[in-house]
């Protein structure tokens, strides 16, 4: 018996599948692959498609961070400490319209009452925004040396589109570089989650008995801790003298150590159902090994569900990394992530005086929302035979 005849009907696990195929016997639709149907159904969900574009844009931004940002994200600038965002303008103080947007220069005064530097827009200085300006040299994607940046202004002007932090570092540059960590920690965490979760879930569901009981008890144990507290405890146990990269990977591992539990439970439920179906009995009768049955007959069937759960797990991981770094237990300075950036905005006083320091949070919300919409879209799409 060939594999094809075994896997094909099982790939269509929904009971309605047979009816649909009968109805469409003449057309070519009957020959479309399951994945094509999923794809077509996904495209119909506008919100999910829009979310996909937003995410692609964010990842592109993060990948080309050196090119997109006008300044070095670690460069502090004591003349422009905590400057409010410099908005690009088209109309100057005299009311004249300029086709090329410009930003104002800065005048700095000492607020002798609060002992604080106050930066104001200086309407007498105007710096037009320019594209592809020369600046700090870098290597794009680590390969191509270049010194062009997407936008900038001529010296001595500055362009802090989203303002600066308490050391005068450009917030936009910091957000883009912070996204490198915040947007990837979830991806790596999720790949590990998929690995642990599907292996443990399949073993648990397929073999049953005492193995199942032990794994399920272990999952319940992990679930009986508040996740953020356990994450923090594990993060705090990391040695202090490790490099940023090691720390980053350890944090992804910690996030997935707890994240795999819910995936494992759902995979287990799926595998339990598949075990009772004819195709797995047929495989057993044909003399297939346990390993083969799991790899060829169980996992491919559960794959779409694994993808859905994994996509919906990414936002949780982004939020967890943000929270941990916010608490000073995740990514540590000088490395930047959206969580470490939000550490600057921990009190109401700061938020009222310097509201732009909350902007990294907006990026967190946008990426988390997009992943949620994407996950919802995939969830609706993986069941292409439902109406």
């Amino acid at each position: 018996m060939s594999d094809q005849s075994l896997t094909l009907p099982s790939a269509v696990s929904e009971p309605q599948a047979a009816d649909v195929e009968v109805n469409l016997s003449a057309g070519e639709i009957g020959q479309l692959s399951l994945w094509y149907l999923i794809w077509r159904r996904f495209l119909r969900n506008r919100l999910a498609v829009a979310a996909t574009f937003v995410l692609l844009l964010l990842y592109l931004m993060v990948a080309l961070a050196e090119f997109i940002t006008p300044y070095d994200h670690l460069l502090s600038n004591e003349d422009f400490v905590a400057r409010a965002p410099q908005l690009p303008r088209f109309r100057d103080a005299a009311g004249q319209f300029h086709l090329r947007p410009f930003v104002y220069g800065t005048t700095t005064e000492l607020d002798t009452y609060n002992l604080d530097w106050v930066h104001k827009d200086d309407t007498s200085q105007m710096y037009p925004l320019k594209l592809f300006v020369k600046g700090v040299p870098y290597k794009l994607l680590g390969l191509f040396p270049s010194e062009r940046h997407l936008y900038g202004v001529d010296e001595p002007g500055t362009v802090f589109l989203l303002g600066t932090d308490r050391l005068g570092r450009d917030l936009f540059s910091r957000i883009v570089f912070g996204g490198r960590i915040s947007m990837t920690v979830g991806l790596i965490g999720v790949s590990l989650t998929i690995l642990f979760g599907s292996v443990m879930g399949t073993i648990s569901g397929y073999f049953g008995g005492p193995v199942d009981t032990v794994i399920q008890r272990f999952i319940e144990l992990l679930m009986s801790f508040p996740a953020i507290a356990l994450w923090a405890a594990l993060a705090a146990a990391m040695p202090a003298d490790i490099t940023i990269v090691t720390r980053f990977f350890l944090i992804s591992i910690i996030l997935s150590l707890i994240g795999w539990t819910s995936l494992a439970r759902q995979v287990r439920a799926k595998v339990l159902a598949f075990r009772e179906m004819e195709f797995s009995s047929a495989a057993t009768a044909a003399g297939a090994s346990h390993f083969r049955i799991i790899m060829v007959h169980m996992l491919p069937n559960a794959l779409s569900h694994i993808i859905v759960i994994a996509t919906l797990a990414i936002p949780g991981m982004i939020l967890a990394e943000t929270a941990l770094s916010f608490l000073g237990l995740g990514i540590l300075p000088p490395a930047v992530s959206w969580g470490t950036l939000l550490q600057d905005a921990q009190t109401v006083g700061v938020v009222i005086k310097k509201p732009w320091l909350m902007l990294p949070g907006a990026f967190v919300i946008v990426s988390v929302l997009s992943f949620n919409f994407l996950g919802d879209g995939i969830r609706d799409a993986v069941d292409p035979f439902a109406l």
Partner: protein, 327 residues
């Protein structure tokens, strides 16, 4: 019913034992022994540690004995209320923990009530008005509520309250009541402060529960017995409230126990921003200082609370749904 409770009780106790293993593991996880950290901490504070003191510590925790014995010594102390010593505060862990756990429980309970009181009516409304304007608005607001980090929501809410009402929120008591003995006025003051953390912690939970309630109710409204009730000429309100909602709420009680970890997690983080004297700030600080007896015990107690909450939810479910009892 008694057999059901007994079974759940045995189950709970075995989980508690496992949790104490994890607690012990966390205490011993950071590199360096307790004695080393203790000495380093003392040196930072500028005091010298006497050899005799170290000996006493070693004897108290059995640090020269094998690990299983150390665990046994630690667990045996629970009976006397001895959970180890925090060197940052130089006080017994048990003294530090009780009051703070109390406030955490208060906020968690309040949030739970808030979530149910807000989410269930909205869930019913959105299910009975599917795809209408109200449903879509609730969906969008709910999604947003799920996507905002708790601590940001807390900050924004504090700013809004400060702008709108002109008073500062944060902490659990006004300045004049912080050290005052308990009195009616202090309790009223507490309630005035408590609602902010409750609303903040509750918001993200509300979004999730609302969606689940909507889904459950939609499933049930499509069932034939609901149709039958309508056919008997009952008023629509009676059909929904008496026949459908009752059955839609059952699965939510099972979720009650499962939603506790999220609520506790939320309250831990929100407490930092709002400066509340709950478990959160003390716990995270203990972790940063590697004050492990304090941190490990806190973590263990949080998990104990959750397991207890699950146990109560199970019993509640057994009470209202007899099928569960005979599983």
């Amino acid at each position: 019913m008694l057999a059901f409770i007994a079974r759940r009780l045995v189950y709970m106790i075995s989980t508690l034992v496992l949790i104490s293993f994890v607690g012990f593991l966390i205490i011993n996880l950071p590199p360096g022994s307790y004695i080393d950290v203790f000495q380093a901490q003392r040196q930072l504070q500028g005091t010298h540690t006497a050899e005799a003191e170290l000996e006493a510590l070693k004897r108290r925790y059995g640090l020269d004995k094998p690990v299983p014995v150390q665990y046994w010594i630690w667990v045996r102390g629970f009976v006397r209320g001895d959970f180890g010593r925090s060197f940052e505060f130089n006080r017994e862990v048990s003294e530090l923990i009780w009051e703070r756990l109390g406030f955490t429980v208060a906020i968690a309970t309040g949030s739970l009530l808030f979530i149910w009181l807000v989410a269930i009516p909205i869930g019913i409304y959105t299910a009975t008005h599917q795809y209408k304007l109200g449903d879509n608005v609730a969906t969008i607001v709910g999604m947003a509520g799920l996507s905002i980090p708790d601590f940001m929501l807390a900050l924004v809410l504090m700013v809004v309250i400060q702008r709108l009402f002109g008073f500062t929120v944060g902490g659990l008591f006004s300045r004049e009541y912080v050290d005052a003995p308990w009195s009616l006025a202090k309790v009223i003051d507490l309630v005035k402060h408590l609602w902010v953390p409750i609303v903040v912690v509750g918001t993200s939970g509300t979004a999730g529960l609302m969606r689940i309630m909507r889904g459950n109710l939609l499933d049930i409204l499509n069932m034939q017995y609901v149709q039958a009730a309508r056919a008997r000429g009952l008023r629509e309100a009676t059909v929904v409230v008496k026949h459908a909602v009752r059955n839609a709420i059952h699965p939510l009680i099972m979720l009650l126990g499962m939603s506790l970890p999220t609520i506790i997690s939320g309250s831990l983080i929100v407490s930092i921003v709002l400066g509340l004297p709950t478990t959160g700030p003390l716990y995270f600080n203990a972790l940063r200082q590697q004050d492990m007896y304090l941190a490990g015990t806190f973590l263990m107690f949080l998990a104990f609370m959750l397991v207890l909450g699950n146990f109560l939810a199970d019993i509640l479910l057994g009470l209202i749904d007899p099928r569960i009892r005979y599983e």
